[in-house]
Every structure is written in C-alpha cells, then in structure tokens.
C-alpha cells in the first residue's frame, strides 16, 4: 500500500455535509440526542392533545377518529422514536469512550442505524396528512388492525416505519455487542466495565433476540392487510388473533427492559459519582441486570391474562420473580448513597427522582402480576399510571440525569444548574400531578383509550388535575430547552472532568478528539480514573508517611544515643 504514503488533499466540506456523512460515534450520538429531543416534543404535543380532550367529559377539541390517532401516535413516537433512541444515543456516545475504544466496531453501520430513525419517524408521521395516521393503539391488535377495520394508509405506513426502526435496532445491537466484546482497551475486563456498558450489553442481547420476532410479526400483519394473508385475520379460516398478541408481546415486553436497563445504567454512573463512593455491590448489579434480561423473556403473556388463552400460574410467577432483581438494584443504589457525601446537582436530583418514581412503577406493577387483581385493573388507567411511572418516572428521569451528567463531556460546556433545578422541580411535580390521579381513576374503573367518559362517573376532577399536570410538564420543558440552547453557546467551560467522574470517558478532553484518547490511564479496577486521581494522593500520603517514619526513627536514635551516653 505504498500509495497511502501520499495523503490526499483534505477537501473543505461544509459543516452540514460533515454532520450528514459522519461515522464518528460521538457525532452520531449527538445526532441521536437532537433527533430524540425533537421527537420528544412531537410525542409530548400529542400527549397534550390527549390530555386536553380528557380534561372534561364530552368531546370538545377533537372527534374520536382524531383522538384515536393521537394516543396511538403518542405511544408509538415515545416508545420507538424517543425513549429507545435516546438511550441508544447514550450508548453510542459513551460505549467506546467507557471501554477505551476509538470508535464503534462498524462505524458506517452505526450511521445507517441512526439515519433509519428520522426516516422512519417521517414515514409514520406522514400518515397524518395522508388520510389519517395509525389509530389502532400502539399494540395494533388484530383483527382491529386488519384492512377491514383499519383501511387507511396510516396503518401500513406505521408497519413500514416500525420495520425500519426494528432494522435500526438490530444493526445497533450487533454493533454494540461486537464493540463491547472485541474492542475493550487492555486491562478492561468484562468485570471492570462501567455498569452502563453492562446494561447496553444486556439490552443489545434483548434487542437481538426480540426485535426479529416483532419484525416477522409486522411482516405477517402487512401480508394480512395487503395480500390476503390469514396469520392474524380472524375473518379467514386459520387466522388467530391471540397469535399476534403472543408474538407482539414477545418483543414488546422485553422492550420495556430495553427502555429501562440503560436508564438504570445511567443512574448507576450518576449516583456513585455524586456520592463520592463506588457503586455498592457491583457484581450483584451485573447479575441482577442479566437476571432481568433473562426473566424478561418469560413474562410476556402477563399482558394477556384477560384473554383466557394463557397458562396463568407460570406467567404470574415469573412476573412476580422479576421484581426481585429490580429490588436488588434499588437496595444497591440506596446503599451507595449511605455514608456517602452527596452533592445534589441537577443530574443527581434526576437520578434520585428516578429512584423515587421508578419505585412506584415497580410497586404498582406488582399488582398486575397478581392475576385476580389484574382482572380488575387491566386496561384501565392503572396501567397508564404504571407505564408512565416506569417510562417517564424511570426512563425519562434517567435520560435527563444522563443529559445533565454528560452534556459537559459532549459539548465541553456546563448546563446551567439553576435552570436545571427549576426543570427538575417542574418535571417532578408535573409528572406526579399527571400520573398519580390515574391510579385512582384506574381502580375506580376508568378504562384507557377512551376519547370520552361519562360526566356522572365522578372522574371529572381527577382528569382535570391530570391535564394540569401534563401542561406543567410542558412548561417545565421550556427552561430545559433554553438551558441547552444557551449553554451550547455560552455555557461555562467544562474541563475534562467537572464531576470527578471515575470512568474512562472522563480521562479525555471535553469534547473528546475524533480518536477519543491520546493516552489511557492504566485500567486496574472498574474506576480507572478514580485510581489515577487517587494514585497521586496515595503517593503523596505514602511519601509523607515515609518522611514521618524516617523522622521518628531519627528521633528515637538520637534519644537512644543520649540515653546511652547518660548511662555511661
């Protein structure tokens, strides 16, 4: 390859061209970040539309058809284009940095997995101007999703969009796994990896095992709708509506763990840093993560308890059991804070918010594992409360904790702490106002996915509170958006390691160079940067101790000599 000795002239490309064609995992991570943030605003707007309609009984601002599109697209956008990609974005940005690698294993595939996301989001949203978006709920149960009952283009677009998202996820998962297994720096053994990387690893396994099943199911649904297939179409002999639920939830229940495990990983980085302690029970944490991943594939049918087509005891038992590793994590987080020295930064506030809120999502989830209780609260607002305490109180809180924590690394500038605290308090109050009343509505029997409810059922006031909460969340997002915008331009310079972080990403500059590291610190534990920082202190202390010892020895010697002399 002699010709490579001569470097080609570096063409001057525009910055836009640079961003559109980049294969740098950090830039792709940042693209994930802004794409997810934009779609978070889209999904949030859809949620506000839903809450506005439900504020009062009667149909005030939209008809049933529009309402059904709104809640369907709210859930689809938030799950497939916000929470999963937000976390995948963190994975993209951080995984190579945390394991001391220069980039992902397959940089171009990495770019492809990102660009499939805005494309697919566009396709799904295109349904709105083209005769109505999908309106079958994000679960798209058959036969409701069949051509006969959902004849619009929206459902087909939704299927195609999800196929593309699935492809993006599968490509990303393979990329993560190869990167983690093959590209760790010397000394970075598996049990020295940051917990966040562990959660990305387990998540990638879940994606790789679950998403192809969803992809197959979506293709079957597409064939049913367009080519007269009889997979799920009960109008035809052989069509089985329950089959769709089985294959759909075989992916979509693990998807909940895909959406929560990396958020747990983020919190597991943030809490130790701001407690100035290592994570309590690192190995227990790794095993708990793996256990959640494994059990996560044996609980899907708890979404189907009321179908009468499920072997109830097995799925009930498995669902109860999955609470155990989650509980282990909770205790480990709390134990990490015990006897620590806590700095309540915005990032830490969101991490603690995660603990407090995700706990509620765990407890109200245990109700659903109990089959008879599920018979009562299934498909009511109790479920809506549960999913939002997990995905908003858990995943979204975790995402915000991560943004405040790694923004300085990503952009070299600090986010404003005062605006951050306002953001946190607004989100915290808003989410509880929105989602807590839903428990009460749910036990009282208010079913979900209804555009209207009876004015005499006694649900008017609680629905109004939930709507006020929804707008509180929306308002609380404004200081955050302003914070991101203004800090990008004029935030306080961050320096390499503003939080005294202990993992490898803090060993390089902020933002890191394209090749990530000029040199790596020695990796002898799960906290290489902590070790490096302490090495100096330890050396100084050892030197001081040595000096003291020499001095003491000298003093003793002098005294002894004096005594000897006196004795003479």
């Amino acid at each position: 390859m002699a010709t490579t000795a001569l470097r080609p002239a570096i063409a001057q490309r525009s910055r836009l061209y640079d961003w559109l064609t980049t294969t740098d995992h950090k830039k792709i991570g940042i693209l994930y970040f802004f794409n997810s943030l934009l779609l978070f605003l889209v999904g949030g707007t859809l949620a506000l539309a839903v809450r506005t309609e439900l504020a009062q009984p009667g149909l005030q601002v939209m008809n049933e058809s529009t309402y059904n599109q709104m809640f369907t697209m709210h859930a689809s956008v938030m799950i497939f284009w916000v929470v999963i990609p937000f976390l995948a974005g963190f994975g993209n940005y951080l995984t190579p940095l945390m394991i001391g690698a220069p980039d992902m294993a397959f940089p171009r595939i990495n770019a492809l997995s990102f660009w499939l996301l805005p494309l697919s989001a566009l396709i799904a949203i295109l349904g709105f101007p083209l005769g109505g978006a999908a309106a079958n709920g994000w679960t798209s149960y058959s036969p409701l999703a069949q051509e006969k009952y959902a004849s619009g283009l929206g459902t087909d677009l939704w299927i195609i969009a999800l196929l593309l998202v699935g492809t993006s996820s599968i490509l990303g998962a393979i990329n993560f796994l190869v990167t983690i297994f093959k590209m760790r720096a010397p000394g970075m053994t598996l049990f020295r990896m940051p917990i966040f990387v562990w959660t990305i690893l387990v998540t990638s396994v879940l994606v790789l095992m679950g998403t192809p099943v969803l992809t197959a199911a979506l293709m079957m649904l597409y064939i049913d709708r367009n080519f007269g297939g009889a997979f799920f179409n009960t109008a035809l002999e052989g069509g089985n509506a329950i089959l769709w639920q089985n294959v759909f939830w075989f992916y979509s229940h693990p998807a909940v763990y895909i959406m929560i495990l990396p958020a747990m990983g983020i919190v597991s980085e943030v809490i130790p840093t701001f407690s100035r302690k290592p994570l309590f029970g690192y190995k227990a944490f790794v095993f708990a993560t793996a256990a959640i991943g494994a059990l996560g594939f044996s609980v899907w049918a708890h979404h189907m308890f009321t179908t009468g087509s499920v072997y109830l005891p097995f799925f009930s038992l498995m669902t109860f059991l999955i609470a155990v590793p989650t509980g282990v994590k909770m205790f480990n987080w709390v134990a990490t804070m015990f006897k620590g020295k806590l700095s309540i930064t915005t990032s830490m506030a969101f991490a603690i918010g995660f603990l407090a809120m995700f706990l509620i999502g765990g407890i109200n989830g245990a109700f659903l594992a109990s089959v008879p209780v599920d018979y009562h609260v299934h498909a009511t607002y109790w479920i809506v409360a549960h999913i939002h305490y997990v995905l908003f109180g858990g995943s979204v809180m975790g995402v915000f904790a991560g943004i405040y924590y790694w923004f300085p690394k990503m952009f070299g500038r600090m986010l404003d702490e005062t605006l951050g605290k306002i953001h946190f308090i607004g989100i915290f109050i808003g989410m509880n106002l929105t989602f807590f009343p839903m428990h009460l509505l749910g036990t009282d029997g208010m079913t979900r996915r209804i555009a209207d409810y009876s004015a005499t059922a006694g649900w008017n006031d609680l629905n109004m509170v939930a709507t006020i909460g929804g707008f509180t969340i929306a308002v609380a997002m404004l200081p955050f958006l302003w914070n991101v915008f203004s800090s990008l331009r004029s935030g306080h310079p961050a320096g390499d390691n503003p939080w005294e972080g202990s993992t490898l990403e803090w060993a390089t500059t902020s933002p890191p160079p394209a090749w990530n590291f000029d040199r790596l610190p020695p990796i002898r534990s799960e906290r290489p940067v902590f070790d490096q920082r302490q090495a100096a202190t330890i050396a100084a202390a050892a030197a001081a101790a040595a000096t003291r010892a020499v001095a003491a020895a000298a003093t003793t010697a002098v005294a002894e000599t004096a005594q000897a002399t006196a004795g003479h």
């Binding site: 029970g281 282990v328 134990a335």
Partner: protein, 396 residues
C-alpha cells in the same frame, strides 16, 4: 422531595405550590377524589379479588414507605458540606446484605403468588347448570344481551321457530357521540344466583368489564368465552369495553342491573310481551323482542322499491334516489352474521334531524322496510348501530 427542603427559598416555593393545590381543591367544593381501592364488590368473586387487593396494597404501601424512607434518609443525612474534600469510606459492597435483600423479596413475592393463585381458583370456579345463562354479543360498538329459554341455545334465537321466546337487548352508541340524552343498554340479572355469560364477538376483540365485579374478560373472534359470577348486592353497575376496538370504543358502555328474582322475572315478562304500537324511532336502548317486529310503519300500496345491502360494516352504496312525496320500500339485506344493522333517515345529513328509522336486526337476514313519503330534498341515511355507515338519499 427532601433535597429541595434544604434551602429556605425552595421550601417557600413548595409551600406556595401546596397552598395553590389546596386552594384548587377547596375551590371545587365537591372535588371528586376516588380512593386507591376498587369499588365495593357486587359479586362473591369480586369480594375475593378485593380481599387479595387489600393484601397486595398493604404490602405495596409497606415497601413504598420503607424504600422511600431510606432514600429520603440518605439524601437528608449524607450530604457533602462545602469545602469538604475528604473521601467517604470506599465501601464496595457486602455479600450478606445482598443475600438478605434477595431472599426477603423472594419470600414476599412467593407468598403473593400463592395467595393470588388461591384467589384465582376461587373466582374461576365453575358451577354446573347455572340458573341463568345470558348470551353476550360484543360488536363495534355496543352490546347485545340475549336471554333464551332453557331449551333454546341463545345463538338460535333468530331462527323462525324460536320467535317470541327470546329477549334481546340491543345497545346503541350515543347518537353523534353525545351522551346527554343517552342511556346505555342494561343487562338484568337476579341477585344471589349464579349467572353464566356466554360471550361472543364476530368483528374485533372486545372486553367485558364491570368495575364493581372487579373482573374483565376479553372476547376474541373465534374464541368464545364463558364466565360465571354470583352477584350478591342489588344495584345498577356500570360496565364498559376495555379492549380498544376502534372508532367508538369509548361508547361501548352498558349497565348491569342486579335485582330480586321477582323483579327479574317481571322484567323478563314485560320484555317478552311485544309493545302495543311500533315505535317510530329506537330511541330507547332496550328493544324488547326486536327480532319479531314488522317494519316501522305500514304503508300498503308502496310500489317503489330500493335495495340496500350491509356487509363488512358498510353499505354497498352511498347514494340512493327516490321520488318525492311517494311512499317507498327498502329491501335491506344485512349480510353481517350476528351483527345488528338498520337504516335510519335524517334530514340534510346523517347527523341531521331524524325523519324515520327502521328496525335493528341481526344478520344474516333480509327485511323490507316501508318508508313513508318524503318531501323533495336531500337526506342522509345511516345505520344507527354504526354511525360510520352513512350515505345520501335524494328525494325528487
């Protein structure tokens, strides 16, 4: 949260918010706060679920208080003071603790699992030959409750030899989505007797849910479901479809009337007696003996005949034409098996003023409606059961 209580200005902000919330709550004098508990159970099965719910709730509250308490304590107690640069003890873990907080939750969830399973067996217990059997048909977007005599299968109620022996309650969604003058259909059941529901859906998945029964069951096409309950408290209880089933899912409300055996028999008897005069419009949700009624108004001598077919929840045409000021007939074929349809004519558009409405009947059947003369103009026709089945009728 605790970490916001440290500084006075934040404490003030929180107090302000709490005060605002208090004002908001007291502002509406009868603020409807539901409890975190299900409604009082109206069935023995529901009571079993309720007892279990209370146990799960207590354990949930205990876990909540313990863990939130630990979080709060850690946040309040272990704070880094300004200028404190000394590291806290670097504790990496403790295997004994890990075992404890793995074992105790396992014990709790196993106990909950066993309790749940026992309760499940109670509520799923079946009785042979229940005294009351009701056929429940769920369809987009309402319910039908069919009461057949003991020797007739409810599915066969439409057969000619069974005319006049069955009672069919046909529910209609609120016209135009407006609930103000609308009553949901009612299922009558006697108190203190086991009732069996044989549930069927022909179109999409629905779910039969009565909150006061603390019970729901999906009704999937090609998977008929049988459930039993014993209602032990008289009253009228709200019910609703819980499985999202399309456009008017929210309108699939119904009521269960639990009444004494005498009242139940009385209701059944009244429902079996055909009403003296044909009703012009099915404004009442209950259409007793609907299947044996003739056309809504007899107009002998009508010679103009139109044909209209309903199949796949759609009319075969969206425009009809009739001569003005002449009575006419509509030969209406309902080809949707087990699904009720009808034809109603409204002024100007399908949501305009009601002019005439034909009987609602189940497919597959063809009936001839006699329609009185209409003045020249534009009309809308619609299936009352399916407000999305519409068309335009022109009289000229």
């Amino acid at each position: 949260m605790a970490f916001t209580r440290k500084r006075p200005q934040r404490r003030a902000a929180i107090l302000l918010l709490l005060a605002a919330a208090a004002v908001l709550v007291s502002g509406c004098t009868d603020f409807d706060v539901r409890t975190a508990f299900p409604p009082d159970a109206a069935t023995t099965q529901g009571q079993a679920t309720r007892n279990l719910y209370d146990i799960v709730f207590l354990i949930g509250i205990a876990v909540f208080v313990l863990v939130e308490g630990l979080i709060l304590f850690a946040v309040l107690r272990y704070r880094r003071r300004k200028g404190d640069d000394e590291l806290p003890p670097q504790i990496h873990g403790n295997n004994k603790l890990e075992i404890i907080w793995t074992a105790i939750p396992i014990a709790i969830v196993l106990a909950l699992f066993v309790l749940s399973w026992q309760t499940l067996n109670t509520i799923d217990a079946r009785k042979q030959d229940p005294p009351v059997r009701i056929g429940v048909v769920a369809y987009q977007w309402q319910w039908q409750f069919v009461y057949a005599p003991p020797d007739v299968r409810w599915e066969d109620c439409g057969a000619p030899q069974n005319k006049g022996t069955c009672v069919t309650v046909i529910g209609l969604p609120p016209p135009g989505g407006d609930r103000t003058n609308w009553t949901p259909p009612q299922m009558h059941v006697p108190v203190g007797e086991t009732v069996e529901l044989q549930m069927h859906s022909n179109d999409v998945i629905h779910s039969f849910y009565v909150p006061a029964f603390l019970y729901q069951r999906d009704i999937t096409p090609r998977k008929d479901q049988v459930i039993q309950f014993l209602a032990d408290h008289e009253g009228t209880y709200r019910g609703q479809c819980t499985q999202f089933c399309g456009l008017l899912h929210q309108a699939m409300e119904f009521e269960v009337v639990v009444e004494s055996r005498d009242a139940f028999n009385g209701w059944l008897q009244t429902a079996l007696t055909p009403p003296p005069a044909p009703t012009p419009a099915p404004s009442a949700s209950t259409q007793p003996g609907a299947s044996q009624q003739p056309g809504a108004s007899q107009q002998p001598g009508a010679t103009v005949q139109l044909t209209l077919t309903a199949s796949g929840i759609a009319f075969d045409t969206d425009s009809l034409e009739v001569p003005a000021d002449t009575p006419f007939q509509i030969v209406f074929a309902n080809n949707d098996a087990g699904i009720p349809h009808n034809v109603a004519i409204h002024k100007d558009s399908p949501t305009g003023e009601l002019v005439w409405s034909g009987d609602i009947f189940n497919g597959v059947e063809t009936r001839t409606y006699d329609v009185p003369a209409l003045p020249a103009g534009i009309y809308g026709f619609v299936c009352v059961v399916h407000p999305n089945m519409t068309g335009t009728l022109t009289a000229k």
